[in-house]
Homo-oligomer: 343 residues x 2
């Protein structure tokens, strides 16, 4: 195996490191007035727009495992996660800041890889990196991402706007990212202490991509915009369908019924779940990190939404007093439960 | 000693914890359209203003030591650090987001204390907490703060505006926070394994306050505004005078001469430095975390600036080719060096 060059972080110093990592980033968006290089970034919102901001943190050992997570993909994924929150407000992402806590165990080349993934995502999403911070961390890698976007006030979609009888819609399919993670964890367990490990991923490439390099659904927001469909409520699927739907119910003071057979699950998700003797529906409900969009639209829009061919209608909004339920094909009603923090 | 109540984080769950911590925060500023509780916060910039944003991260074991750093103070300090970056752009701070990585070793009550300090700083600075994230961390406490502020375009002050012959000004005094840290570290070393430790802080209370609970210099920005003084360049003193002045020189493509005898150093700083056989000037130059402001104004403003009684003129801007130097009373010139990342 080729020995990669290893430059110690300490040899560059904090300012040298920041210069090296941020040098390739020059602002392109008209709304970026001042990017990296001062005490704060300066943004100029487009005429008549509000500013949307969101922040996400990623911890080594909790949110990612560097033994199998390539740093390029990780850089791409943290941008997806942040951008996805802005899309879920129906806003146009425009800027990000990335702050790192890095332990000395990582060479500068590893951070180059991370930033290459960040740069790739920024180019693809047409967003500017406008700031950040790089600090020593006593422990693992920590990544904090803030993202900024813009939208006219009347276009912004909150979690709180769902109305009785609204349709519950989702994009893509669910549980694939979770099964991708299960696969990576299985191969890690199996291949511990194996000298030249050759993990078996054949047939499950899609699951790996959904977990390691998820794409934000910018395409959906663009399509909804073109079709003049403004959802009544929206959230991105980062914590799993059950948790995220319950967030909409809580904010909108409503209940929900979703139908098990309508939840889109990819073939590879089902296949791996069977192989690993788990239930693909559990992966879809509680898996998280799919970065698909969950939203509601008025019942009258059913035909218009279905015609797009990009969106599945999985249920509808009910009165708050009825709670949130999953209905199985044989008519059983299972109360949804929020996941979250590992206990 | 009174036994404090200890609630495990896991008993509340992630969403319960976030609700508990953020419940006391209701937005007050007109520019906060939507605070905590959705995928992103929504801000409405005041008419004619740009948006300024900055982000800071704080790592247990690197940036703070919980064995002597009270969590209330830590909450206050992280807000000061973020707000200070906005003040250094001559902007009005208005919102913050706070994201945490918490290990299970901290009880919920510790996070209550942290948020009490954050709430206190927010009230004092009239800023709204508008978002954040709380995650499990495998390691110590990690705090990521983003801060948002507003300013009319023509009022924003960058690091890059310093001109030849401009005066170099600083607020307050330097090195006190660093000596406060040295004192806390000394007492920690001395009292390790002592059963009921009684650290000796008498006579050095000011140093402790400067380290544990520094105030952002909002007063200075207000006064400069009233006096219609717009600095040509500005930065906040977070990395130490030498590093921060060199940042201005780099961005403004200039050199600098500062005079050792003009650097304001508090009596307690000098006293403790003598007691600990260190040089108070080193503390002032390299100490950092003073959160005072370093700025430049045109030479013609000398009298106006000095009349305020709040600001010391410590030197002047020179040509880029001459570099950045500290001049000692006997005329020696010492080249300034940037600190940063521990090597």
């Amino acid at each position: 195996m080729e020995q990669k060059k290893r430059t110690e972080i300490a040899s560059l110093g904090q300012f040298g490191l920041i210069d090296r990592l941020t040098a390739p980033f020059t602002p392109h968006n008209a709304s970026t007035r001042k990017g990296v290089g001062d005490d704060a970034a300066v943004l100029t919102p487009p005429e008549g727009c509000e500013v949307l901001c969101t922040t996400d943190t990623f911890f080594e050992g909790v949110d990612f495992d560097l033994t199998y997570f390539p740093l390029k993909h990780l850089g791409y994924k943290v941008i997806t996660a942040a951008v996805s929150d802005l899309l879920a407000m129906n806003a146009q992402p425009a800027q990000v800041t990335v702050s790192l806590g890095v332990s000395a165990k990582l060479p500068v080349e590893a951070l180059d890889d991370l930033y290459e993934g960040i740069a790739f995502a920024c180019r693809e999403q047409e967003i500017d990196l406008v700031g950040g911070d790089t600090r020593a961390s006593m422990t693992g890698l920590v990544i904090a991402v803030s993202a900024f976007g813009f939208a006219p006030r009347e276009q912004i979609v909150y979690r709180s706007g769902a109305q009785l009888h609204d349709l519950i819609c989702i994009t893509g399919n669910l549980g694939a990212a979770y099964m991708g993670l299960q696969l990576l964890e299985r191969e890690k367990r199996v291949l511990t202490d194996v000298k030249n490990p050759e993990p078996q991923f054949k047939g499950y490439e899609y699951l790996l991509e959904k977990y390691l390099k998820p794409r934000p659904r910018t395409d959906i927001i663009a399509t909804l915009g073109e079709e003049k469909i403004t959802p009544t409520a929206m959230i991105d699927l980062s914590d799993g369908l059950a948790s995220d739907l319950m967030q909409i119910c809580k904010a909108s003071k409503c209940g929900a019924r979703i139908y098990l057979e309508r939840i889109p699950i990819a073939q590879q998700t089902t296949a791996l779940a069977e192989e690993m003797h788990t239930d693909p529906v559990i992966a879809a409900l509680n898996g998280g990190e799919d970065y698909e969009l969950l939203f509601t639209v008025p019942l009258a829009m059913q035909e218009q939404v279905m015609r797009l061919g990009l969106i599945d209608v999985i249920g509808h909004i009910t009165a708050e007093s009825t709670g949130a339920f999953l209905v199985t094909p044989d008519g059983q009603e299972i109360k949804l439960k929020a996941q979250g923090f590992p206990g």
